[in-house]
Symmetry: C2
Subunit: 352 residues, 2 copies
DNA sequence: CACTCACGTGGATACGTTTTCAAGCATCTC
DNA sequence: GAGATGCTTGAAAACGTATCCACGTGAGTG
């Protein structure tokens, strides 16, 4: 356990002032001679600038925060990998938090990041605009990924991004939306859901159900739009985010409405639950019920039959979000919508 | 974007010195009167101590680092969730890195953590003892999880933990092992593998293959021991860690040795590959080939037939590792071995 | 030659906290 | 009542860095 060399040591050994060393190492101006000497000495002493001093001086911790609901959900694993890849190539650290989908925990983690002076954050939000107010107020650069905070009753944090995305969705923006500089990187849920519903319709399905979870608001809206009015409300059910509640929702749906012939699962946890519930109830896929799952995860191919999915680029989503949050110096970046793709495997069949 | 109150502001507003404020907030001694006043003022100013100042003063960043090979691997997702849960309850941040199983990236990330003065680290190591030397030398408190660095040729970093675990495995410790204070939290691979092999043997299987990946050294050793000599070396194959190479290894194994009747996959990525490769080659599970997979992941139950697995408590593993690394004040914690459980589902059948 | 200008340089300062140290004060003991 | 003892307190010194500012030196310009 040897103590590390400081900038002062380098300065003394090189016979220059600390300011010069700092300049050389941060790419400032210096004469070629001194630059070379400083670099040589720094290399010889194995000097590594301490992030502690720099952080305090600049009153901000480098890198970025990342808040996801659950790393056990493969999609968020993909998203995290994307963020980490971008951060790594930039040499920046990322401090991670798992919210469990709980706004309270999310608020705690935001507080923790604030305390750490982490001023850049990528989040899959669970709480509403009120939860996010402290972060915005503190001047954090926030980028939402995958979803947005639940729509606030009055103009607030997520409004700008929501306006962005509703415009991109082709919907008219909420009237009271006042921009508040929170961009987002999300998948084109509307197109993804619409394509899936059309595909199922093409197979002859009339009674199509939607199995949703927290944060699937845009997907539900897209589903309603794709199905067209009037929507059979009993066919739109929700879990709370846990695997258990997802299973309960799926099982309840199948039992209460044996007449349904197709299900769109809003996420891979829900898709998993649907498969399990169907099996438990002796419903064969796709013979008795067709299934389309949001998220393409490696194990979708393992099911038998392999699952037809709406693929969204989780890794890219994370990478793009990280890029946005890193490049956002002062200005507000534009929101990004990534394409989805319907990957047809074997979990959908003709309506009988 | 309002500037946050500093300890100085609180001190002035309360009419005391900064030292007193610091003491009150860190639980030091103070008269009840002043304590109350300071707390009141701090609350009123919404004062949150800055981690930056504290970190610099203490020359160490709080929290811990976490290095895993791949968050897309559900098992590491579980492990990370465990770490995060423990860290959250302690109010500590965790900075995450994904190594991709590449020692070079791992070394880079270690360097980054060193620069951040993160002095506690939980890692699923990919590199060898040499990769880990810088961290140890810098005085980091390291706890390995799930696996250990590859056995060094001479005494080095992982030696102590390896000695610990070989002893726990009932094997004689390596002769040259010199303790170097790197504890580990791992599953009881030996018992897990042995149980699986015995189970397969009990079903009549003679030619059992092992499909391994990087870091599965202990599992391979256990497999060799359980199978007994002489081991048919063609039945022990390895992938490099990626899904592609896992698939190639599995496919190659099935094609080169059509006489094998059972496979033990050393991890869930390899199990996934085995299922896909078997399907591609028209091998039916468990009719043509029986399969046991290490790691119990949610989707194991989705396969048909559902996969028989050796479950290891990924979440507990992470939680325990985080506990160890947090409680390790100066002394070296003892390594921990967690139990495994053979969960019998439907992917193994009698040998035909 | 004098004057300006640009540039390389180093001293000093600030960032927000913890911790040491000595001083102040009240209480206790002989 | 004098000395000793214990507790509370605030001033000050770090921690390692980035940056402001002033100084010096050289070249360029009139």
């Amino acid at each position: 356990m040897e103590k590390r060399a400081t900038i002062k040591d380098v300065a003394e050994a090189a016979g220059v002032g600390v300011a010069t060393v700092s300049r050389v190492l941060s790419g400032g101006s210096a004469s070629p001679a001194t630059r070379e000497r400083v670099l040589a000495v720094a290399a010889q002493l194995d000097y590594r600038p301490s992030a502690l001093g720099r952080n305090l001086r600049q009153r901000r911790t480098g890198g970025m925060g990342l808040l996801v609901p659950d790393l056990t959900d493969t999609f968020y694993g993909q998203l995290a990998e994307g963020v980490l890849a971008c951060a790594r190539s930039a040499g920046e650290p990322v401090v991670l938090g798992s919210t469990g989908g709980d706004p309270e925990q999310e608020a705690d983690l935001i507080g923790m990041l604030l305390e750490q002076s982490v001023d850049r954050l990528i989040a899959v939000p669970s709480g509403d605009a009120e939860t996010w107010a402290p972060a915005i107020r503190a001047g954090m650069t926030v980028v939402f990924a995958d979803r947005l905070p639940v729509q606030p009753s009055h103009d607030d944090a997520g409004a700008a991004a929501i306006a962005d995305l509703m415009a991109l969705d082709g919907l008219s923006p909420a009237p009271k939306a006042r921009p508040l500089d929170v961009p987002a990187v999300v998948a084109d849920d509307r197109a993804g859901i619409r394509t899936a519903v059309r595909y199922l319709r093409g197979l002859g399905h009339k009674r199509i159900a939607f199995l949703g979870g927290p944060g699937h608001d845009r997907r539900v809206a897209a589903f309603r739009e794709a199905v067209g009015s009037p929507v059979d409300e009993e066919l739109v059910v929700f879990g709370t985010g846990s695997r258990d509640s997802a299973y309960a929702a799926a099982s309840g749906l199948f039992q209460s409405r044996p007449d349904l012939s197709a299900v769109v699962a809003g996420g891979n946890v829900l898709g998993e639950a649907a498969v399990l519930a169907a099996r438990e109830l002796d419903l064969r896929v796709p013979r008795d019920v067709s299934l389309v799952m949001y998220d393409d995860v490696p194990w979708a191919e393992l099911c038998s039959p392999p699952l037809t999915v709406i693929a969204q680029p989780g890794r890219d989503m994370g990478y793009r979000a990280a890029e946005l949050v890193l490049r956002a110096v002062g200005r507000r970046p534009r929101s990004v919508v990534l394409p989805t793709e319907l990957i047809i495997r074997g979990s959908c069949g003709p309506h009988r």
